[in-house]
């Protein structure tokens, strides 16, 4: 895939604009997923996908053939998303889902047969998580999303965010600590 991506990039740079469509088709879903997880809503995520591929096309001459186009466009998208979550109105719109992804082996907070008290507690936990996520800085939030949901390594996160690996690790640590601090009062009752 990487080899074919490189040949497509060469074709685009040689003047074949339509060849770029193959790259867009191949990587749109991945870029959308990352963008959605950072910004938290579909409309913004789709805008970020458009923006990332447009920037990618404009900067294609700077793309180094030894790297993967998928990783390269992913980084651009994460940066676009990072810029967007830095805006207050997006922070306010950030939402946590009501359900978890079974493929990611997540733990359901609310069980199907939960009683009213259990449902109430579950809502409180989600609210606390939401508050915690809103208190994260854009870098902390992005680092946490990339590590926790995208399963990216610390070195990848550092490369995407343009920071040192240790700084990326500290950003993830801080995000986890803030999250746990918000959840601490509910821990005894859960």
């Amino acid at each position: 895939m990487q080899g074919s991506d490189h040949s497509v990039v060469r074709a685009v740079l040689a003047g074949d604009k339509d060849a770029y469509g193959a790259l867009v088709r191949a990587h749109s879903a991945t870029v959308f997923r990352a963008a959605f997880r950072i910004v938290g809503n579909e409309a913004d995520a789709e805008e970020i996908v458009q923006e990332a591929f447009l920037r990618g096309y404009q900067r294609l001459e700077g793309f180094e053939q030894r790297s993967s186009f998928g990783t390269w466009i992913y980084r651009i998208a994460v940066n676009c998303a990072l810029n967007r979550v830095g805006r207050p109105e997006i922070e306010a719109e950030y939402r946590h889902g009501e359900e978890s992804d079974p493929e990611e082996k997540t733990v359901q907070v609310a069980t199907q047969d939960a009683g009213p008290e259990r449902v109430l507690l579950s809502r409180e936990i989600k609210a606390a998580q939401e508050v915690a996520m809103q208190r994260l800085t854009p870098v902390e939030k992005t680092a946490f999303v990339l590590r926790h949901l995208e399963d990216r390594s610390m070195s990848e996160i550092a490369a995407v965010l343009g920071i040192a690996p240790n700084a990326a690790k500290q950003a993830v640590f801080r995000a986890v600590q803030k999250l746990r601090r918000e959840l601490a009062p509910l821990r005894g009752t859960a």
Partner: protein, 256 residues
């Protein structure tokens, strides 16, 4: 027992903990409980499932994006290679040019200095002071050998032809060396040293070319040519330091 820090627990949760942390966890209930609590917190923090995007999504993105893209100019081969980063190439070419200019100036300076110094000496390409030191060492050795030869000849048995032949062979070698040093001193503009070596050469010529050299003959040479005086004179000249202008100025009071 020192328990794991929260950061170490987080690393363990993400599968990045080191072997010591893993080993500690295996034997520590308290840290295991902490890790279990961390897992509950973090797994509860899984956020909204990502809305599915089918195969047509990429096509839709492309259709939206396509009108906004301007095709790259059609360039091929070397045009692209150079056109891509011509500014960088110019900088690189400029840097290489500067480096070549500096190297040429250095080499030219070296050549000019050597060409105009007018010295052909035994010290090769060394600097003036280094050359001087080399000449001193070599000449001192030459004088020592000459002195030893004269002493040996003085005590030699004139009937032992083999020994005489060996010493005369040595004298011929010293004679050849002496000529070289004399020429060098002369070219270096040191007439005092050149003169002394010239007189020593006369002694060596006598010794080297006399087929029946006897102790009496040697004594005659030593007396007539003042061999010891010549050797002393040369040693005095060599003892001059470079800042006394030994290369060009004759030593005061050194003539015999």
């Amino acid at each position: 027992m020192k328990h794991l820090s929260e950061e170490e627990l987080i690393e363990l949760y993400y599968g990045e903990g080191g072997a010591p942390a893993v080993a500690h966890l295996a034997g520590c209930r308290e840290c295991s409980a902490q890790l279990a609590e961390l897992q509950r917190d973090l797994e509860g923090a899984r956020m909204a499932a990502v809305p599915e995007r089918g195969a047509e999504y990429g096509e839709r993105v492309w259709e939206t994006l396509r009108p906004r893209l301007v095709p790259y100019e059609k360039t091929v081969g070397w045009h692209r290679f150079f056109g891509k980063g011509w500014a960088q190439w110019r900088v690189a070419v400029l840097a290489v040019g500067c480096a070549a200019l500096v190297a040429a100036a250095f080499a030219g300076g070296r050549y000019w200095e050597r060409h105009n110094s007018g010295t052909t000496n035994v010290a090769g390409n060394a600097g003036p002071q280094a050359k001087q030191r080399v000449v001193l060492v070599v000449l001192t050795d030459h004088l020592d050998r000459t002195e030893r030869l004269l002493v040996a000849l003085e005590h030699a048995d004139s009937s032992d032809h083999a020994e005489n032949a060996q010493m005369q062979s040595e004298a011929r070698e010293l004679l050849a060396s002496n000529r070289l040093y004399r020429a060098t001193a002369s070219n270096a503009g040191d007439p005092a040293l050149a003169g002394a070596l010239d007189r020593l050469e006369g002694v060596l010529v006598e010794v080297a070319n006399d087929p029946n050299l006897t102790a009496a003959d040697l004594q005659r040479v030593r007396d007539e040519m003042n061999t010891e005086g010549i050797l002393f004179e040369v040693r005095v000249l060599l003892a001059r330091t470079p800042d006394q202008g030994s290369r060009l100025k004759p030593a005061k009071g050194a003539s015999i």
